[in-house]
């Protein structure tokens, strides 16, 4: 072994796709090299911009080392938006390839395989998960009247590890290539024998490192909800979003370990010559399928449950009504989180379990439609006879209700093993899970983005561009994925880069046009953000309650102070804030203020982020010394942190009082905004009472 091998492992110039694109300029290579170029140029542009504006200091002091749950939440969402951009572009690229797939298209088969692998991995682990975590971080402590998470530093570490996973997947675009084994990375295909390259290793470490971060998040969320609720906030007074977060947290705690086990076993097979999943010497790849889906199925519910929570908040607020069937929604969420652990086998009905096992899991799968159906009726009943304001989040909610029911029904169809045998592994399945994940999860998150944005930044998003974006998302989704149902029944297998059947052509072309609409929906979101930031002075809502909200997060300024509430609220009922507004007891002036103790900033999260990235990168390329250095640094700084004794600082009561009194003055002088002028510049965040409806 020479020095270069020791220093750089198996890394060499051939790992750069840009060089390959120059050597062999086919369309496929050019796209790969171009993507790498975009990552490099984009990264450089960001660095230059930050240096140019002198933002390094504030970025480090106020954001990267902050343990404030609100800032961590925003950073999660920024991360997921960046990854969403890449994921959507990849999706559109795949639709385009398939539209021209009859004559082979323009992408090499391996490149296409890489695209569907990164697209799936990114969308699940680095878009949906951080987006959901971001909202949970920002909103849940506010909703329960807490000052922060139970474990603020661990919260920062979770973000760091998630970002490390995302960084690895971005690096794979520039150095080497990602896995071609799909987002599920089934062995033996991803084993050493069939896939000796770096691709599956990139998958293992990006997903594995981020997965540990998610486990820690789950623990943090659950403990926060159990232990940090404001006085009087009993479990059955919690807002529904918080309930769904609790369910999701419980799922995270139990469902992330199987992923950790599956990825580490696969790593042991690849690195240490173990035989967990190999073809020979007693390996059993069915164990992988079981382990992976023991995580994978609960995973989709842990994504969709918080989205259900967001829709519950949005629909109640914009219907001006108490949520219908609160208790049934809570029990339905709990039932879904339990059932989510009983259905994993429906992901591989055709892998030879026998009819009786299949039918048991098929029936369990169909059962999930029952609590979900309960929820859909509850949301409709909430709207029924409400005074609905048809704002942007409501447009997403409406799109969700209609499209998600269709997606759910195709799920019930697939739950029947006999039908599954016919359409499994076809694009029918692709249509189905996009039909639940896009309207279910993504629309929920985008509705929440529009709904809570003013809380986080103190100004609203532009309504008009919001309507355009929502419409484009809804229409774009339908045009892209409904043709895939037909194609699936016609027999187009999923993950095909090419096909021989001319009859597929019209449908793949329509789907490509839909992908174009989705791309423009994404562009519209960017425009909306740009327009809103430029015009923020006319969109400001400093009082903090622009939508006549019902729950505690609206009972503080926008953006909230770092300690959230000057005095912790005393909760007496569900929909506490709506009730206190109706009773005229909202915005009370506290008798006295107390000092508030908050955790100090720490660089631990960033050390974990950079260390985790280097650790994963070193393992991918077999640079053993670097892996060891990174690991020791991470563990060492963690231990060193426990020797610190000055981990808290105190905000004096006088400062809290001054901030609070200034805000109360704004509240008192603001003109209440009626429902009709909600979207106008007259809305300063003080909502006028809507109807004398709250009479519980």
């Amino acid at each position: 072994m020479n020095l270069q091998d020791i220093a750089l492992g198996r890394l060499d110039w051939n790992a750069l796709p840009i060089l390959k694109a120059i050597e062999n300029p086919t369309a496929s290579e050019l796209i790969g090299g171009g993507a790498a170029g975009v990552v490099i140029v984009g990264g450089l542009a960001v660095v230059i911009l930050i240096t140019w504006c002198g933002w390094w200091r504030p970025l480090w002091k106020d954001w990267l080392t902050s343990v404030d749950h609100k800032r961590i939440g925003i950073m999660y969402i920024v991360l997921s938006m960046i990854m969403l951009t890449r994921g959507v572009i990849e999706g559109a690229l795949m639709r385009t390839q398939q539209a021209f797939g009859l004559d082979g298209g323009f992408l090499a088969p391996d490149h296409f395989a890489e695209l569907f692998s990164t697209h799936g991995t990114i969308m699940i682990f680095f878009v949906a998960m951080p987006f959901v975590s971001g909202f949970i971080n920002y909103i849940m402590p506010l909703q329960i009247g807490a000052r922060d998470m139970s474990f603020p530093v661990m919260n920062q570490i979770s973000l760091g590890l998630t970002a490390a996973g995302a960084a690895l997947i971005m690096i794979s675009l520039v150095i080497g290539q990602f896995s071609t084994g799909g987002w599920t990375a089934y062995p033996p295909y991803t084993g050493k024998v069939f896939n000796p390259g770096v691709g599956p290793d990139y998958w293992i470490w990006s997903v594995g490192i981020a997965g540990i971060g998610s486990t820690l998040s789950g623990i943090n969320f659950a403990v926060t909800i159990y232990k940090e609720r404001a006085p009087g906030m009993t479990l059955f007074r919690m807002p529904l979003f918080t309930w769904t977060v609790l369910c999701a947290a419980i799922i995270l705690i139990f469902a992330m370990p199987p992923l950790t086990v599956a990825t580490l076993m696969l790593a042991a097979d690849r690195y240490l010559d173990f035989h967990f999943f190999t073809n020979d010497l007693g390996g059993n790849m069915m164990n992988y399928a079981n382990l992976f889906w023991l995580f994978g199925h609960p995973e989709v519910y842990l994504l969709v449950l918080p989205a259900y929570g967001i829709f519950s908040e949005v629909i109640a607020t914009f219907s001006g009504k108490r949520l219908y069937g609160y208790a049934s929604l809570v029990y339905a969420s709990l039932a879904i989180s339990i059932l989510s652990f009983t259905v994993w086998l429906h992901h591989f009905f055709t892998m030879g379990q026998g009819a009786n096992v299949n039918i048991a899991f098929g029936i369990a799968t169909m059962f999930i439609a029952v609590p979900t159906g309960v929820k859909v009726y509850d949301w409709m009943a909430t709207m029924f006879r409400g005074r609905i304001r048809f704002s942007v989040p409501m447009l997403y909610a409406t799109g969700f209700l209609i499209l998600f029911v269709i997606g759910g029904l195709t799920g019930v169809i697939l739950a029947n093993p006999t039908i599954d045998y016919q359409v499994h592994n076809s694009v029918f399945l692709v249509a189905h899970f996009h039909n639940v994940l896009i309207p279910g999860v993504l629309f929920g998150l985008l509705a929440g983005y529009h709904y809570w944005f003013p809380k986080a930044f103190g100004f609203r998003l532009h309504e008009g561009w919001g309507f355009v974006a929502a419409t484009l998302w809804i229409v774009g989704f339908a045009v892209t994925f409904f043709p895939l149902y037909v194609l699936g029944i016609m027999g187009l297998p999923r993950r095909s880069f090419s096909y021989q059947e001319a009859a597929f052509d019209p449908f793949t072309l329509v789907a490509m046009c839909g992908a174009g609409l989705i791309l423009s929906a994404l562009a519209t979101l960017v425009i909306q953000l740009w327009v809103s930031v430029r015009g923020r002075d006319s969109l400001r809502v400093p009082v903090g309650d622009p939508w006549n909200g019902r729950t505690l997060e609206w009972a503080t300024s926008s953006p909230p102070p770092e300690y959230n509430f000057a005095v912790l609220p005393q909760v007496t009922t569900r929909d506490e804030f709506a009730m206190s507004k109706a009773n005229g007891t909202a915005f009370p002036t506290p008798d006295r203020f107390a000092d508030i103790t908050m955790p100090r900033n720490t660089a631990l999260g960033m050390i974990m982020c950079i260390g985790g990235t280097l650790f994963g990168f070193a393992l991918v390329w077999h640079i053993w010394w670097l892996a060891l250095v990174a690991l020791v640094t991470m563990l060492g700084s963690w231990v060193a942190g426990t020797f610190r004794t000055d981990r808290h600082r105190t905000i004096p009561a006088a400062q809290v009082a001054a901030t609070h009194v200034a805000w109360l003055e704004q509240v008192a002088t603001a003109t209440p905004t009626t429902r009709d002028s909600e979207a106008s510049s007259r809305n300063t965040g003080r909502a006028a009472l809507d109807l004398p409806e709250i009479s519980a």
Partner: protein, 209 residues
């Protein structure tokens, strides 16, 4: 003293510990949740072991009867169970404020028992590896070397943690973060004991049955 409030499962420090007792509620509860998550990992490793404990998993390679030394496993069991007891004594010394002396003494006894356990375990492993029973030989051995050393790794982590706590008792004194860390280390140590009982029963006894 009898009307103490119990703020979390397991041994409470008690109200007379003031701040440490109050902060323990969230910290120890959080640690219980972490252990629950860790237990899932072990559960899946056990399940994998059981699915590979058959001729197909052994792929013609050596099986439990060729490899396992029940005497050594029994000694390891006794060492670990005793160390759990001595850690319990350390916890009581902490709770009843018997001063640093007895606490440090019991912790050091625990440390020695833990090291002895690891010594026996490593010697077992090296004998197996020397006999050609490496994880590369069969799925069964992969499952064995996935499960038992994972527990050993946890024990190692626990011992490092214990050494760190001994240092912190010395440098920081018995301040409340140190007390609550000792509470959590105690839970971790007893947890590893329970896992080992599973390993002794499932891996060794079932394997040799």
């Amino acid at each position: 003293m009898t009307a103490q409030t119990s703020s979390h499962p397991g041994m409470n420090l008690g109200d007379h510990h003031g701040e440490a007792h109050r902060t323990a509620e969230t910290l120890v509860f959080g640690f219980w949740v972490f252990l629950m998550s860790d237990l899932i990992i072990f559960g899946l490793m056990f399940a994998t072991y059981v699915t590979m404990l058959n001729p197909m998993g052994m792929a013609g390679g050596p099986g439990p009867k060729d490899l396992f030394d029940l005497n050594s496993a029994f000694i390891q069991t006794m060492l670990l169970l005793t160390s759990s007891f001595t850690f319990g004594m350390a916890s009581l010394a902490l709770r009843h404020e018997q001063g640093k002396g007895p606490l440090i003494l019991w912790l050091i006894v625990t440390l020695c028992l833990g090291l002895a356990f690891l010594g026996f375990e490593l010697s077992d492993f090296s004998k197996m590896l020397a006999a050609g029973a490496t994880p590369a030989r069969s799925g069964f051995l992969s499952a064995f070397f996935g499960l038992v050393p994972l527990h050993g790794l946890h024990v190692t982590a626990g011992l490092i943690w214990l050494i760190i706590m001994l240092i912190q008792i010395g440098t920081l004194g018995l301040v409340s973060p140190v007390k609550t860390r000792l509470l959590r280390l105690g839970l971790f140590w007893h947890f590893l004991d329970i896992i080992w009982i599973g390993i002794f029963s499932v891996v060794y006894l079932w394997g040799l049955a």
